[in-house]
């Protein structure tokens, strides 16, 4: 976690799931309190479930309530799959990099 110019970068590694959401929730709340802009890097997310998805939605909503910016970036294939399955990328509004399948 590092912050430059009030932009805080958070990296979520490993699971974004029911097992990690409680901890991640706190982390995100802390970040939103500390900075005006939070960027969450999802490139290292290996697994994601509905709870993780819910957390993303809730984080967005929290940021909106506090009038701050929260961005998700570098969506990993696991994240990408879930958002695609639920057609939620539009709702979250972050640009998604469509990876070419190698």
């Amino acid at each position: 976690m590092n912050s430059e110019d009030h932009v805080m970068h958070i990296e979520i590694k490993g699971e974004l799931s029911i097992y990690t959401v409680a901890a991640l929730r706190q982390q995100l709340i802390d970040a939103l309190e500390a900075a005006t802009e939070v960027e969450v890097d999802l490139s290292e997310v290996g697994e994601m479930d509905s709870a993780g998805m819910q957390l993303m939605v809730a984080a967005k909503r929290e940021a909106a309530l506090r009038d701050k910016t929260l961005r998700f970036s570098g969506h990993s294939p696991a994240v990408f799959d879930v958002l695609e399955l639920c057609k939620l990328s539009g709702h979250l509004g972050d640009p998604l990099l469509i990876r070419s399948k190698i």
Binding site: I18, V21, D49, S50, Q54, L55, V57, R61, E62, K87
Partner: protein, 793 residues
């Protein structure tokens, strides 16, 4: 799948369904109360409508819908099947066939078909309007049914799944995402809207509570139970509504009603899912606001119960409401279940089958033909080199090739039953036209034969059946006078017989009138008055062009066109047709066809340097023709085979094979062409006058009476008649790939095709049926002549 491919499949399936429908219609006419058959008809119509809808073939859907509505009434016992109704539905069947053909041709329906659609539809609507014991809630007014699907049912083929997950779902270890993924394994999520509005902001979020909901538009051929299965584990924990495809708008309306979302929002979601169109939603909402109890009483009751508690129906109520709806809407549920059942049945029938383009199959068979020739070449070389290992390897190879050949040929085999069943309709229509009561009996429907043959046999068979019905079976009065039952019977039968398939068309009518045929033939100049003919030959005269004994021409047959065409068509398939008839008892016409047109087991024989192939199935035995026996035959070409008279034919003489020593067989013998002239004439003094006459016509015969070497007789059998083929040497079994002869050799007698030997030489395939006929023909003529000679004396 490519859309074109899918369309092709639709066309093929639709045609099959129409065939089934027709068959069922003919059956139901006999047993109007057979529920199974009525259901089969309904299902056929229903499936065609459904599939046509998928391809946007609106005119087909519209037309079929009317038919289906009438059938639905029949099914629910509001209408009884009558023969008038069957007639109309046979018309519907035919018309659908026309519509499908137009689709297949890529054409829009023209004015004529459109009018036909309209006409049939209006005929059907009469039945829709008939008073029924139970009032139909849906259409009113005669023009309404056509508009029904658009006005009343949502125009979609997708299921709609509405899912609200309970708060504990995640805590219980379930992941809704995996359910969605599971759905994708047996169908396709066409559209999904994830409802995240209930998800609070982070600070209020209990990250382990589930706040999610989904509205899913789902395309699948699975049934409701399967879809419900996907949500099995959350059933107690979530509210699940599954609305079958093409449900009535009111169903969706209830969905909107029952779920605790803003009604407009949910409506919009439905529109976004593509489940409802905007227009449908608007009218639904109007209806909802305007007339609360607009539908039947019980429904309205269920609804107002839900509504009475204000805008948020209590959760406890929801389960009950759902159950109640299932109860109130048994029709919708029934229809959905029916569709699933039918899809399932269809699947079951199809599961073991795979559709293959016939061209691909032909190509495959062609290649196997090449393979056989190549392997024959290999085994020839192996024999020349005489390396034991190579011989062994080649032997294995040949055996495998043979097995591959057999299995490839069976791929093309189809049962003749389907072709036979088509005649139910023909017999029904023709007997109605003729005003005769004629029944069709079918046996041997499971007999297999080559698909190409099946396709081509339909027309000749139709001719024969019509002919039997028109000319064979007498009017009821005549029948009764003869002591026969009033209703005539036409029998179709098929069976295998020595490498051929035999198809019989038999009737119990008046039989052929020998004298009349004879008189007519003489009148037409087909035969001369003094000619002596066997019964067989006389009967076969009806296959001569322009021959008809019936004085008045009916619109079915009797113009004298047809029977000659029948024989030509059958000959083109290397088959033959003959007639058995007994005056006053009936006629049996027997078509014989080769089982396959591609590859046969052959028996290779040699005459001088030439090779010939006899279809092995037709070979009975091979015997030696000793000099003594040849001499005993006295030029009459007959042999005493264990006390039986066997007419034989000399291939050398028949094909005028040039005389070359046997040793040159393998060598190039072209330069020997012409050979040395046969020695003949020496023995003419020994012959009878008749023999001498024959000798004068066939000089080689004289030589053959003094064979230089031993000859063999291959005894062949066809259509119950035997004949011997005299050849020089027997070379054994040979897998024969039949190649047709070129146009130039079309009229060639005694040869049906050619094949290529392992060494690259060409062998001609003998037309055994033709040869047997020829031998037997000359035989019976000679006998007739002898008889007349005796009687003259």
């Amino acid at each position: 799948m490519d859309m074109d491919d899918a369309l092709q499949t639709f066309i093929v399936e639709a045609r099959e369904l129409l065939e089934q429908m027709e068959e069922a219609l003919l059956r139901v006419e006999q047993m109007p109360d057979d529920v199974e058959t009525i259901n089969a008809i309904f299902r056929a119509a229903h499936t065609i409508k459904g599939s046509a809808g998928l391809f946007g073939l609106d005119h087909v859907v519209k037309f079929t819908h009317v038919a289906e509505s009438v059938l639905d009434r029949v099914r629910s016992n509001q209408l009884r099947i009558t023969s008038e109704l069957v007639v109309i539905f046979l018309g519907v069947c035919d018309h659908l066939g026309v519509l499908i053909s137009r689709v297949a041709a890529g054409a829009e329906p023209d004015e004529q078909t459109r009018q036909a659609s309209e006409q049939l539809a209006s005929q059907l609507r009469v039945y829709l309007d008939a008073p029924a014991p139970v009032a139909e809630p849906a259409p009113s007014g005669s023009a309404a049914p056509l508009e029904t699907p658009a006005a009343d049912g949502a125009d979609t083929d997708n299921w709609h799944i509405s899912l609200r997950l309970g708060p504990d779902v995640l805590r219980n270890g379930m992941d809704p995402l995996s359910m969605l993924r599971y759905l994708n394994t047996f169908g396709q999520i066409v559209q999904i809207v994830t409802l995240v509005d209930a998800v609070p902001a982070l600070s209020e979020l209990d990250p382990e509570t589930c706040y999610l909901g989904f509205e899913i538009s789902f395309h699948t051929s699975a049934d409701k139970a399967t879809i419900e299965g996907a949500f099995e584990f959350v059933r107690d924990d979530a509210r699940i509504r599954i609305v079958p495809p093409r449900s009535r708008v009111s169903e969706y309306l209830k969905l909107i009603d029952d779920l605790p979302q803003e009604e407009l929002l949910l409506g919009e979601i439905l529109v976004r899912c593509g489940t409802l169109t905007q227009a449908e939603l608007d009218s639904a909402l109007r209806e909802q606001r305007g007339e609360q109890g607009g539908e039947t009483g019980s429904e309205a009751g269920g609804k107002s119960d839900g509504k009475s508690d204000g805008s948020e129906p209590p959760r406890a109520m929801l389960g009950e409401v759902l159950v109640e709806q299932q109860l109130v809407q048994p029709r919708v549920v029934g229809a959905a279940l029916d569709k699933q059942k039918q899809v399932k049945e269809h699947k079951a029938a199809e599961s073991g089958l795979i559709r293959v383009n016939a061209d691909k199959l032909d190509e495959h068979i062609n290649l196997i033909g090449e393979l056989i020739i190549a392997s024959a070449g290999a085994s020839l070389i192996a024999q020349q080199t005489a390396i034991p290992e190579l011989l062994e390897a080649v032997a294995t190879l040949s055996r495998l090739v043979e097995e591959v050949r057999d299995s490839a040929l069976t791929l093309r085999m189809v049962q003749i039953g389907a072709t036979f069943n088509r005649f139910q309709r023909v017999v029904r229509d023709v007997s109605a036209d003729l005003g005769k009561d004629i029944r069709l009996e079918i046996s041997g429907a499971e007999t297999d034969l080559d698909k190409t043959v099946v396709e081509k046999i339909g027309d000749p068979l139709t001719h024969l059946v019509r002919n039997s019905m028109d000319h064979g079976i007498e009017p009821a009065a005549v029948r009764l006078a003869c002591g026969k039952p009033a209703h005539g019977t036409v029998r179709l039968n098929a069976y295998h017989d020595s490498g051929s398939i035999v198809i019989e068309v038999a009737d119990d009518g008046g039989g052929l009138k020998r004298e009349r045929i004879l008189a007519k033939a003489i009148e037409r100049g087909l035969i001369k008055g003094e000619q002596q003919l066997s019964d067989q030959e006389i009967y076969n005269l009806i296959f001569e062009p322009g021959f008809s004994t019936v004085d008045q021409v009916s619109n079915l047959s009797g113009r004298g066109v047809g029977m000659d065409v029948v024989r030509r068509n059958i000959s083109a398939l290397r088959g033959s047709v003959d007639i058995d008839s007994c005056e006053g008892v009936g006629t049996t016409m027997r078509i014989r066809l080769p089982l396959t047109l591609a590859i046969i087991d052959g028996f290779l024989v040699g005459v001088c340097a030439s090779s010939f192939v006899v279809p092995l199935d037709m070979v009975v035995e091979c015997v030696e023709l000793s000099e003594q026996e040849a001499r005993d035959s006295h030029g009459r070409d007959h042999l005493n085979l264990r006390g039986e008279v066997l007419p034989f034919i000399r291939l050398r003489q028949l094909f005028d094979v040039s005389e070359t020593p046997v040793e040159v067989l393998a060598a190039e013998s072209d330069d020997e062409r012409g050979g040395h002239l046969p020695r003949y004439g020496q023995s003419s003094t020994l012959l009878t006058a008749e023999g001498a006459a024959a000798l004068a016509g066939d000089p080689e015969l004289a030589f053959l009476l003094h064979p230089v070497q031993r000859e063999n007789v291959v005894v062949v059998q066809y259509a119950g008649r035997r004949a011997g083929l005299v050849v020089d040497h027997l070379m054994g079994e040979f897998q024969t790939v039949i190649r047709p002869l070129g146009e130039v050799f079309n009229g060639l007698e005694g040869i049906s095709g050619f094949t290529i030997l392992g060494n690259g030489n060409v062998a001609l395939i003998l037309d055994v049926p033709g040869l047997v006929r020829r031998v037997a023909g000359s035989e019976s003529r000679r006998n007739a002549r002898a008889v007349s000679f005796v009687s003259a004396e």
